[in-house]
């Protein structure tokens, strides 16, 4: 989700809706999918929306959408442009990681404080979204008056995008008073340090020159010489990035915003060593849209005029192009088999296929005006076998007096192993998972875990390999609550297993603890036996050793002959580690043993 700060006065002015109350505006914005989130310290309204319509990242774009909604505007609008006077030359030396550049000139911009803030916000929001934090695309906006053309020493009115060595040249960046080389910016300037990772692997650094010298160090920082001021009227916009299409669209969104404030957009020529482009590309694309699909998706009947009207109210244009499968018998086009050629304005970066257009039509129609209907589709429902088994085991445990618990699947490595007397496998151990054979010999819970690459917290760094550690933690956190505490959990555990496609064997495990003054092996076994009995499973408990249990009071849980778990009295050392002052008897086994 993105948040844009908007001045409602500006919004009224730009939409021509001086009379709209704040509440009315909020309702209209909600219909566009924009939610009012609150107010900033400066009295701006914060609007939150999903990042599809990135042309709405500024008050100008939001106003445009509202004007369509109010019917003030209809159809596709493309700002007029003047022919190029400036050329952006791309040198051979340009960093190969960031080969693309685009831009535009905007003249006659009437920048006041609010307009300048809005422009800077749009630039930042575009960086954060389409620009992928400046990795994919970054924008530089400069005061054209401060630039002198002729960078490549060739003609007038050109700038050059090239690659430089870190200390090849110097300039005064924004928010600095001294000449710094690009290399120094990356280590000494706060903005430089922030964006240094973006270009950390670049062999040469991106730089843009005019005749006077280096004035922009994309995607990091502009030079101070060309800094925008409130009285700047003519702007040079440059964008560099890793994808031409992306930076072109970012540029178009900027141009539309500036044009909405009365600027005249002037094209620029982009001169690559092997080709030439004219930008901004304000070309209108078209897509074909079948009438039937619109009716199917929206679930309503529409006349072709309705579709055209809805399209125009969405800022699109639609033209009936002909029938899907030829015309009907009487030679006239019927709505059912007609199709449209839909024109899409260039600021729309989000239209990939017909459903995106139908979504626009639906929004213009008003989705909430559609009557819900229960689909006439007949299917038979049912639970997954695993889920049915889990429910029955849970019900039985609850009947035996256990309080059903729900613990996290993620756990600290220390809690999963060390706190239970097990040795934590080294990272990388069993990486090949040849363990699947030796696993038989491991104590329950001793398998190698799935590890989170960059854990947010050391409390949650692996997927647990068994459930008893979680239950012991619950006991530890509830020593102030009344006893007995008979707890059980059926949940996920997992251990490394090369035999699995994911390299991990996931399974549901049944864990139970009896924490009470009279907790004993026998008490645990009688409950486990009751559980096995109702599932018609044969339980055997041959003696075993497990570091979490008292020697001589631990047994393997064998169900129908298969070793599937462990049962016993928890070792006092482990009780003490968990700050417990009552004995605990416990068992754990794989759920699928009962199926």
């Amino acid at each position: 989700m993105v948040v844009v700060d908007v001045d409602f006065e500006e919004l009224r002015w730009l939409t021509g809706q001086e009379g709209k109350s704040d509440e009315e505006l909020k309702t209209d914005l909600f219909a566009l999918g924009m939610e009012y989130e609150g107010e900033t310290g400066d009295g701006l309204r914060q609007l939150e929306f999903a990042p599809d319509r990135l042309d709405r990242l500024s008050v100008e774009g939001i106003a445009r959408s509202l004007r369509y909604q109010y019917g003030e505007d209809r159809g596709v609008h493309v700002p007029r442009t003047n022919s190029p006077e400036w050329r952006y030359e791309v040198a051979e030396s340009v960093p190969e990681e960031r080969p693309y550049v685009t831009g535009a000139i905007a003249r006659g911009v009437n920048l006041d404080e609010t307009a300048l803030d809005s422009l800077i916000q749009l630039q930042e929001k575009l960086h954060a979204t389409m620009g992928r934090d400046r990795v994919k695309g970054a924008i530089g906006i400069h005061d054209l008056v401060m630039l002198k053309g002729g960078a490549a020493g060739s003609e007038d009115n050109s700038i050059e995008y090239r690659g430089v060595e870190p200390d090849e040249d110097t300039f005064v960046p924004l928010d600095a008073d001294a000449e710094l080389s690009p290399g120094e910016v990356l280590t000494e300037h706060p903005t430089g340090r922030e964006y240094a990772p973006v270009i950390a692997d670049y062999e040469r650094l991106p730089a843009i020159y005019d005749e006077i010298g280096l004035f922009s160090f994309p995607p990091v920082i502009n030079g101070r010489r060309t800094e925008l001021e409130v009285d700047s009227t003519d702007l040079l916009i440059e964008l560099t990035g890793t994808d031409q299409w992306t930076i072109d669209r970012m540029g178009v969104i900027l141009c539309y915003a500036l044009a909405a404030r009365g600027a005249t957009i002037e094209e620029v020529t982009i001169e690559y060593p092997d080709r030439e482009l004219v930008r901004p590309d304000l070309g209108v694309e078209t897509k074909r849209l079948a009438h039937e699909r619109i009716e199917t998706v929206l679930g309503i009947d529409l006349a072709t005029e309705d579709v055209i009207d809805l399209a125009e109210r969405s800022g699109l244009d639609a033209e009936v192009t002909g029938s899907e499968e030829g015309s009907s018998s009487d030679g006239e086009l019927s709505a059912e088999n007609s199709a449209y050629e839909v024109s899409i304005p260039p600021y729309r970066q989000d239209v990939l296929g017909p459903l995106d257009l139908i979504d626009d039509l639906g929004r213009a129609y008003g989705f909430n005006d559609l009557e819900p209907r229960y689909p006439r589709v007949s299917t038979v429902g049912g639970r997954h076998e695993r889920s049915r088994a889990e429910r029955k085991v849970r019900e039985t445990l609850v009947g035996l007096g256990f309080e059903d618990l729900l613990d996290f699947h993620l756990i600290a490595e220390r809690e999963n192993y060390d706190q239970m007397g097990l040795t934590a496998p080294d990272a990388g151990e069993n990486a090949t998972g040849e363990a699947s054979e030796t696993r038989e010999d491991q104590p329950l819970g001793g398998a190698a875990p799935a590890r989170i690459r960059e854990p947010y917290s050391e409390d949650y760094e692996i997927v647990r390999t068994w459930a008893l550690p979680s239950l012991m933690m619950v006991l530890e956190n509830n020593t102030h609550r009344s006893y007995p505490q008979d707890l059980a959990e059926i949940g996920l555990a997992a251990g490394r297993d090369a035999g699995e496609n994911t390299g991990l064997a996931e399974f549901r495990t049944v864990g139970a603890v009896l924490a009470r003054t009279d907790a004993s092996y026998e008490a645990a076994k009688s409950r486990l036996a009751a559980l096995c009995r109702v599932f018609g499973a044969e339980l055997e408990t041959p003696p075993t050793d497990h570091p979490a249990f008292i020697g001589g009071r631990a047994a393997e849980v064998r169900i129908d002959g298969a070793p599937v778990g462990v049962i016993g009295e928890i070792h006092p050392e482990i009780l003490v580690e968990h700050d417990l002052e009552v004995p605990v008897a416990a068992f754990e086994f794989r759920l699928d043993a009962l199926r």
């Binding site: 909600f30 999918g33 939610e35 929306f49 999903a50 897509k287 074909r288 199917t296 998706v297 929206l298 679930g299 309503i300 239209v351 990939l352 296929g353 017909p354 459903l355 979504d359 929004r363 989705f367 909430n368 559609l370 819900p372 209907r373 229960y374 689909p375 589709v377 299917t379 429902g381 639970r383 997954h384 429910r391 849970r394 035996l400 007096g401 309080e403 059903d404 618990l405 729900l406 613990d407 996290f408 993620l410 990486a431 998972g433 799935a450 590890r451 989170i452 690459r453 960059e454 947010y456 917290s457 997927v463 956190n477 009344s482 490394r496 496609n501 994911t502 390299g503 991990l504 996931e506």
Partner: protein, 503 residues
């Protein structure tokens, strides 16, 4: 008026003018004092009698003391035997004296040590001599023993008494003597006439088998008194909510999905047409694994079709993303960020083979978010995921399905806020009115799967889907304000024990 037998006995034996102890009443009525005490308290509660309590110290012989009272103190028996064997004149062998005394076992030692202590004679080198001056009939310990035995120890020497207590022959005990007098109400009740009723405390097997229960009068309990608190086994409140959701969905014709929690990014994101440079796929949001790091196999042809959709789009004039796409990223393993990975596995045919429309599927399973934990967000949460596959599904069908679902949870008047998801179009955030507070709250996210999702999976009809965090529903139905009380090892057992059930 009817009263239980013991109560009636107490009432009749008590007097309004004379203070009588329970012991006296017991002797008079031939009933157990404990029975009468209970009856007396019940009568006092009714206001028929008054009970005065007096602490009394009593003195009794122990079993050993009673034996010695009958047989004589062992040291005296020893002295008498010594005199008989002539030990007053010359020392006599110990064996001979003891034999004559008839003492046996441990009592011999007791006799010997007290014999010496009381200077009845001397024991030297295995021979015993008796003190001719000693007077066994004047033994003060024997006298006190006799006095305590007859219950008249009022003027015995306290130091001698202490000695007997030390020797374990007598014991002091405190007891409360309860003294009963009739009140005016009691007198009145008696004069009005009272019948005896047999009362029974506990219904016993004997009462049942003997048939005595027919005559029994069951003592009344204080039925308003608090009872002990018990915490039986119970299903976790969040599970309860999950079960309820499953019931509703099964009832609506949905079948349940199951599948891996750790999965390839291909199934979690790529198949869902999430561009690989989408912010949600950066390391902070996803739970990428370092071990295991990569899936073994992915269906090759499907991967190719998905890559093509990402790069070129789907359909004649469809467009793809202008984003990098690498098969290596697709193979990386992570804990699923949503259970929509299951939907992808089922829709592709990977889970249970190709599906023909119509189908309805759901799951209520865990998803993972690498994020800070707070009162409303956990690293793990249950996602309710559902989808319907059919020919020609419309937005209205989607709305109808969700309206039906949420009505089961008391949420009506759903609003559909147009939304954006990379994998559905049109997409809606669902808002509903909180059944208690009346607030408009977000209750889910939904939409029709895009062609770019479905066509590579080999699905040629429509699929609508929605997702919702189960915790959000649970917090609505349980009133929990901090999700950490509910879910995880920080759970408060008291909260779980006392949470209201939902059904």
């Amino acid at each position: 008026m009817q009263l239980p037998g013991p109560q009636l006995a107490v009432l009749e034996a008590a007097s309004a003018t004379e203070k009588r102890t329970i012991a006296q009443l017991a002797a008079e009525t031939d009933q157990e004092p404990t029975t009468l005490t209970g009856a007396a308290f019940e009568l006092a509660e009714e206001g028929f009698i008054e009970i005065e309590e007096r602490e009394e110290q009593s003195l009794d012989l122990t079993a050993e003391g009673r034996t010695y009272r009958e047989e004589g103190l062992p040291e005296l028996r020893l002295y008498r035997a010594a005199r008989e064997t002539g030990a007053a004149d010359a020392p006599v062998g110990m064996g001979e004296v003891i034999g004559a005394s008839g003492l046996e076992g441990g009592v011999v030692d007791i006799a010997l040590s007290n014999f010496a202590r009381k200077e009845y004679g001397k024991i030297e080198a295995g021979e015993l001599s008796a003190n001719p001056e000693a007077d066994p009939n004047g033994d003060n310990e024997a006298a006190v023993l006799e006095a305590v035995g007859t219950g008249d120890a009022s003027d015995v020497d306290p130091s001698v008494l202490d000695r007997l207590v030390d020797r374990g022959l007598a014991e002091r005990s405190r007891r409360t003597e309860r003294i009963v007098t009739l009140t005016e109400d009691g007198v009145t009740a008696l004069m009005e006439g009272i019948e005896a009723a047999d009362t029974v405390g506990r219904l016993t097997p004997e009462l049942l088998t003997s048939g005595e229960w027919r005559e029994a009068d069951f003592r009344e309990y204080d039925v308003e008194a608090d009872a002990d608190q018990v915490h039986g086994g119970r299903t976790h409140v969040l599970r309860e909510t999950a079960e309820r959701v499953k019931d509703v969905l099964v009832g609506m014709g949905f079948e349940e999905m199951d599948g891996p929690h750790v999965d390839a990014d291909f199934w979690i994101n790529d198949a869902l047409f999430m561009p690989q440079d989408h912010p949600a796929r950066t390391h902070w949001d996803r739970f990428a694994l370092s071990e295991p790091a990569e899936i073994g196999e992915l269906p090759e042809e499907l991967v190719e079709r998905v890559e093509t959709a990402h790069r070129e789009g789907v359909g004649e004039d469809g467009e793809g993303y202008h984003s990098p796409w690498s098969p290596e990223f697709a193979r990386q393993l992570a804990l699923r960020g949503h259970t929509t990975s299951l939907s992808m596995r089922y829709l592709s045919g990977e889970a249970i083979g190709d599906l023909e429309p119509p189908q309805r599927y759901f799951s209520v399973e865990k998803a993972y978010r690498n994020d800070a934990i707070d009162a409303t967000h956990l690293l793990e949460f249950f996602q309710i995921e559902g989808w319907v596959m059919a020919e020609d599904l419309s937005v209205r069908d989607l709305m109808g399905t969700f309206t039906e679902f949420y009505e089961h949870f008391g949420i009506t008047d759903i609003e559909f806020k147009p939304h954006y998801n990379p994998y559905t179009e049109p997409s809606f955030e669902l808002f509903g009115t909180h059944p208690v507070t009346g607030e408009l709250i977000e209750i889910g996210n939904s939409g029709l799967f895009r062609d770019e999702v479905l066509r590579p999976l080999g699905v040629d009809c429509d699929v609508m889907a929605w997702g919702l965090a189960l915790e959000r529903l649970a917090m609505l139905t349980t009133g929990a304000e901090d999700i950490r009380d509910l879910h995880g090892t920080l759970a408060d057992l008291d909260f779980l024990r006392n949470a209201e059930v939902s059904y």
